[in-house]
């Protein structure tokens, strides 16, 4: 049961082969056994989860159950959950109980999901390895000496270890896709503005976007259906007609039937994603995956993204600049940590923030403060926004020649704890393939496409044009129907 995908569990619940209470009890039992090894969860709420499950079973008995009714899920601890501790992986919010639900949390609650708990993460979503969490590192379920990726590492590890069938994440520079790749699961970052940021504790407001983790593209589509939608409480939430993101997955008839379901698809391959610097096992797995897409009927076309290699330096101006502004709200007055001893108000701010934030968060606040400080705005922030435009223009031109863009999600597989903690720049370059989709705001996902020589999973990134979620989910789904990488799960000898 626990190795079933979210979509399969949904069918089992619908056919009354399983109750939500039975499923939730099995989930809680498995978490109790395995989470002490992985540290994927910061908070587990068994009592409320079982109450949610009983309510879900009652709704189903009453004939009011959608596809997510009774499905246990976990939320990344950056999303506010009313009445439940929301830490953002930080000492700053160690004891913060959220006064309201994030928009995406409320949407998934309305859809009938069972909230199991909150997942560990890099502090304030700043990191690519989950090593910056105040609550300790999360272990990669495939090899506990390795990182699960970050910043949504707890959600990714929880789904990979089959602790929960689905989870939320947020993605500011790759924080859903890179941990999905490192943990061997499917993760989707939607178009900026599809999921409201209301109640998502802000890191970089022009880049932050909530998304979903599951075993499959179908799982992510089901979760996105409940997370998307216009919300006037977020001024950047887009007011568009509602979409069913599973619609292409369920479509029957040409071109989706037969041996070549992707016969109309043009896959763009940017040379920039296939140069030196990627691990040879990652490159080999990508080649095999592209051969499979060709077999499914897709055509491969070369595209150029000449400025995409500037994504990381652009990102490390824009994201810290926005973070330095957003995190100024943590002043020890209205919420969060306040130092025990201080001389005056200014000293209280400085000591509260020095004690409440970890080293990486402080570094990014300082970088952001510097680039926004008097006399530097044009040289850094404005310049970065101009290069951001050049990168977006590259993608616009590429999509004149192709429908989706593929490449590796990350240049390597999961690395060992401590391998990059002394060198922030090397850690940042792990996001080389993922940050562009945040700068442009377009959707992107990572799906499992193989393993390296030491048995660690490899991720394939599928990027689409604005609002192409349904299309990239469909492309991933057709691949997953022809392969079984997404069904592999770690052995976990605990």
């Amino acid at each position: 049961m626990m190795t079933s995908s979210l979509a399969d569990l949904s069918r089992a619940l619908a056919e009354r082969r399983l109750s939500s209470v039975e499923l939730t009890q099995a989930v809680l039992e498995r978490i109790a056994r395995i989470n002490p090894t992985l540290n994927a969860f910061v908070t587990i709420d068994a009592e409320h989860a079982l109450a949610d499950a009983r309510a879900a079973d009652a709704r189903r008995a009453g004939g009011e159950a959608g596809p997510l009714n009774g499905i246990p899920i976990a939320h990344k601890d950056v999303l506010m959950t009313a009445g439940l501790r929301t830490t953002c992986g930080s000492r700053m919010l160690e004891n913060f109980v959220a006064p309201y639900d994030a928009h995406v949390v409320a949407g998934l609650k309305r859809a009938g999901t069972v909230l199991i708990g909150k997942t560990n993460m890099d502090e304030f979503a700043m990191g690519s390895s989950n090593e910056t969490s105040y609550f300790g590192t999360v272990k990669n379920p495939w090899n506990v000496a390795c990182v699960p990726g970050g910043s949504s590492g707890g959600s990714a590890a929880a789904v990979a270890a089959r602790l929960v069938p689905g989870a939320t994440g947020t993605d500011t520079g790759g924080s859903i896709r890179q941990p999905a790749a490192f943990s061997g699961i499917t993760g989707l970052k939607p178009t900026y503005g599809i999921c409201s940021r209301y109640g998502l504790i802000a890191f970089a407001s022009s880049l932050d976007q909530a998304g979903a983790f599951g075993q499959t593209a179908e799982d992510c589509a089901l979760l996105l259906n409940a997370m998307a939608g216009h919300d006037p409480r977020d001024s950047t939430s887009l007011d568009r007609p509602a979409e069913d993101y599973t619609r292409l997955l369920r479509a029957r008839g040409s071109p989706h039937d037969g041996a070549q379901p992707l016969a109309q698809l043009r896959i763009g391959l940017p040379n920039e994603y296939f140069g030196a610097g990627s691990d040879p096992d990652v490159a080999a797995a990508l080649d095999t995956a592209l051969a499979e897409f060709r077999r499914l009927g897709a055509k491969i076309v070369n595209v150029a993204l000449p400025n995409v290699n500037l994504s990381v330096p652009v990102y490390y101006v824009i994201a810290p600049a926005e973070a330095s502004s957003n995190l100024s709200r943590f002043d020890g007055v209205r919420y969060g940590h306040r130092a025990a001893k201080y001389d005056d108000l200014a000293d209280m701010y400085k000591k509260s923030r020095a004690e409440g934030f970890g080293a990486e968060v402080k570094r990014r606040i300082l970088v952001g403060t510097y680039v926004l400080s008097h006399g530097y705005y044009d040289a850094y922030y404005l310049k970065a926004q101009q290069v951001r435009r050049l990168i977006a223009d590259d993608f616009r031109r590429a999509y004149e020649k192709c429908d989706v863009i593929m490449g590796p999600t990350a240049p390597s597989t999961a690395f060992r704890f401590g391998a990059m903690t002394g060198d922030p720049v090397q850690m940042y370059l792990n996001d080389i393939f993922t940050t562009a989709a945040n700068l442009t705001g377009a959707p992107a996902m990572s799906i499992p496409c193989g393993f390296d020589r030491s048995g660690l999973p490899i991720g394939l990134q599928i990027q689409g044009d604005y609002f192409a979620e349904a299309q990239i989910l469909d492309v991933a789904h057709r691949y997953q129907q022809a392969t079984d990488w997404h069904q592999r799960s770690p052995a976990l000898n605990v």
Binding site: F96, V97, P99, Y192, G193, S206, P232, S235, T236, L238, D239, N307, L310, V312, P313, V314, Y316, V317, S324, S328, G332, V333, R334, Y335, G336, H337, Y342, D344, L345, M348, Y349, K350, K351, R353, A354, F357, K362, R363, I365, L366, V367, T369, Y370, V371, S373, Y380, K383, A384, Q385, Q386, V387, R388, R389, L390, P424, V425, Y428, N438, L439, G441
Partner: protein, 95 residues
């Protein structure tokens, strides 16, 4: 070198984060490495390029000018470090 120790102390003050003398050099070295990465942008010709402020070029929505929020100050102040009579308590700033 882009970042000096004076820069570290100046921006730490602007950001209201206490950094003591023993940490300052390590912070400086790491920030300097990060600016080494960021400074790659200097080589790019961006003359005439319109800055891209946001992922979606949409106008900010306006709403009617009427009260829609209910008073939830008790709920919100429930998570504050120090509150009295509906007011946030901070150290005395005026003698």
């Amino acid at each position: 070198m882009t970042i000096s120790l004076d820069d570290v102390h100046r921006i730490a003050h602007l950001a209201r984060i206490e950094i003591d003398a023993t940490e300052a050099e390590e912070v400086r070295a790491k920030l300097d490495a990060i600016f080494g990465l960021i400074n790659e942008l200097n080589a790019i010709d961006t003359a005439g390029v319109v800055p891209m402020a946001h992922a979606q070029d949409v106008a900010l929505p306006l709403r009617e000018d009427r009260v829609t929020e209910t008073d939830r100050h008790r709920l919100y102040q429930g998570v504050a470090p120090a509150v009295e009579d509906g007011l946030y308590l901070v150290p005395k700033v005026i003698e």
